[in-house]
């Protein structure tokens, strides 16, 4: 990979209520690369992802996107990065399609409805397009959030445990989604406790809190 790194983290440290979770953590990530964050429960994987999103500040160190600190490129980063956290961030009272439309509105994009329906169908939600998310199962709601990644058109995906709550079929679908995205010149950062198989793609990895 000869691309210059787009995302770089230098010497970042994270503290949670007087505890140091990790420190001196650093990595670089360029296009066509994926990063797997490893570490046991409570070691700061989620905290690291939230720092990489710009939702929280590291206790030390800095994260740069295209060479600029995250705080300075909030708006550009917001367009180029998509985050799916522990909770899905979808509204229970809206249907899957309405949720995607809402996300597009807030991101300043116009939703391509056909593409959105295709993304939802690809994730096996074809039958639930008109149901409010409230009546969907946990795994189905997870899929709605992940379908949002496809329609967001972001370069970098940051995924916190994307495979939780998915059945075997769903896991395979999401693995395929991530793989296609990265191989097409995207970037992905994720945590997972489950084995992840991305054919033809070896993610970089970084460990927190050893």
């Amino acid at each position: 990979m000869s691309h210059p790194p787009l995302l770089s983290a230098q010497d970042i440290a994270c503290e949670r209520s007087e505890h140091t979770l990790f420190q001196a953590l650093g990595f670089e990530l360029g296009v066509g690369e994926a990063l797997l964050v490893r570490g046991g429960n409570g070691r700061g994987k989620t905290s690291l992802l939230r720092i990489l999103c710009g939702l929280s500040q590291p206790a030390a160190g800095a994260v740069h996107w295209r060479g600029a600190p995250l705080a300075h490129v909030h708006e550009q980063y917001g367009r180029e990065m998509a985050y799916v956290g522990h909770v899905n961030g979808i509204k229970d009272d809206l249907t899957p399609l309405e949720n995607l439309r809402l996300a597009a509105d807030l991101g300043g994009r116009v939703l391509d409805e056909d593409a959105a329906v295709a993304a939802l169908e690809r994730l096996g939600l074809g039958r639930c397009l008109d149901l409010p998310a409230r009546v969907l199962s946990f795994g189905q709601r997870r899929r709605v959030a992940l379908a949002g990644l496809v329609t967001a058109g972001a370069l970098l995906w940051i995924l916190d445990e994307p495979l939780t709550g998915l059945d075997v079929h769903g896991v395979a679908l999401v693995e395929g989604l991530i793989r296609d995205h990265v191989l097409a010149g995207g970037m992905a950062i994720m945590t997972t406790h489950q084995p992840l198989s991305l054919d033809g793609l070896t993610p970089k990895s970084v460990s927190v809190g050893d």
Binding site: E15, R16, S17, E18, H19
Partner: protein, 244 residues
Amino acid sequence: MNLYRYASPATFHPLAGRLVPWFAALAAALAAAGLYISFFVAPTDFQQGEGYRIIFIHVPAAWMSMFIYIVMAFWSAIGLAWNTRLSFVMARALAPTGAMFTFVALWTGALWGKPMWGAWWVWDARLTSSLILLFLYVGYMALQAAIDDPRRADRAGALLNLVGVINVPIIYFSVKWWNTLHQGASVSLTRAPSMAQTMLWGMLVMALAAWMYTIAVALVRARTLILERERQTEWARAVLKEEA
């Protein structure tokens, strides 16, 4: 001199420890002198008799209640701007003392009001604003108490404190405006009739005593807060072991 050195908790803790007895002693001496002036030197007021002597407590307490809130806002602003943890600790350490002085000002105001106006409580502009100031202190402390994570508690409290301090003049103005429009309660606590020179001295000395007391108590409280937060560090453990 490197000021940042004193902003480090490990340096501040012992330094504050050495300063506390001095401020406490000064507070005691000044309070003794102030009380002597107020009770024995200051003349009996020909209109209000002996009862007026409560202003030697009331007026300094009212001054301090307002002043401490502003000092807290100062520390909060510094903390938010430069991310210095000690500033948040100072703001937090001052709050209970500020609330205490506000309460004292209200209480003594009521005690004074009874013989002067024949009522414990009059919706006078100053009393009303003091009451709202007490609410602001209570809100700040309640917010701090509700948040477990000290980092969040610091910042959230500081933001509330800043919103409060922007609002204090507006509140004060609105209450005064409200007061002049409604009843003609022209009696005002600080418009004491023809203040004698010695009365002014008594109040100033008492105010200084309140100052010194505030500094001493805030330092003691800040020391405890620092130890609690830094208990993971080497130096804090050493201190705790020594004190145990």
